[in-house]
Amino acid sequence: MSSRRSRQSSGVPRITDDQIIELVSKLRQLLPEIRDRRSDKVSASKVLQETCNYIRSLHREVDDLSERLSQLLATIDADSPEAAIIRSLIM
């Protein structure tokens, strides 16, 4: 335990700034708004903010879609043939 603790304070690989910049730019590629703007001057904090907003909007979409699906579930009669159709269409 103590050896692990001392290893943590001295031998921990420092997170380099380059790594963070690389990860931030990777995130930037995924965000639709920033990607379309094509400017290199987007700050890292803006990227984080947009990431949070995007994740929140995706969560909301999932909630809406699951509500819609739960209402539609009652209208499904024969499940297996339709499920096979869906699988073939999507994949």
Partner: protein, 167 residues
């Protein structure tokens, strides 16, 4: 590495197919259990079950190598354990211990002024990504990127299923 029988060059397509298969199976199961919910409470419960099934299928399809998928599955399992009124504190302790010690430590990296990455925003992001509290900043950004990719797939597939069934 890839458990699918047909090898796919594009990893996101196999994620999509794994998610679709698992999610459809759970939808059919939900429909069989209670085909016609007639009171608002049951309707709400069914909606919640669909959402949980979607999250669980996504986490399973993403694989256990990602921290966020493991954290999401643990959360769902804990919730179902609590609901079943099985008071098993030892199980919960093990799961929490696994989550926080997996990365070994929880770093709050002190950013220099020219870094521009606010710890405030990082903490907001930690709350949104499952398992984000126990990650250092580097892993948090990495996991967030993968999480967004998987969420996109989830939304795409669910929208397709809803469109097919509503037409």
């Amino acid at each position: 590495m890839n458990p699918d029988h047909h090898s796919s060059l594009n990893p996101s397509s196999s994620l999509k197919s794994r998610f679709t298969k698992t999610f459809l199976r759970s939808l059919i199961k939900i429909n069989k259990q209670r085909p016609f919910p007639y009171c608002p409470r049951e309707i709400f419960q069914r909606c919640h079950r669909v959402k949980t099934a979607a999250d669980k299928s996504l986490a399973r399809a993403a694989g256990s190598r990602r921290v966020w998928s493991r954290a999401m599955l643990c959360k769902i399992r804990n919730r179902s354990l609590r609901r079943g009124c099985q008071q098993r504190p030892s199980v919960r302790r093990i799961i929490i211990g696994y989550q926080t010690t997996k990365k070994g430590y929880c770093l709050q990296k002190k950013m220099s002024d020219d870094q521009e990455v606010g710890t405030d925003q990082a903490s907001k992001l930690r709350k949104l990504v499952p398992g984000g509290e126990a990650m250092d900043l580097c892993s948090l950004l990495d996991e967030a990127a993968h999480y967004i990719k998987c969420l996109n797939t989830q939304v795409q597939v669910m929208r397709r299923i809803a469109d097919i069934h509503s037409s």
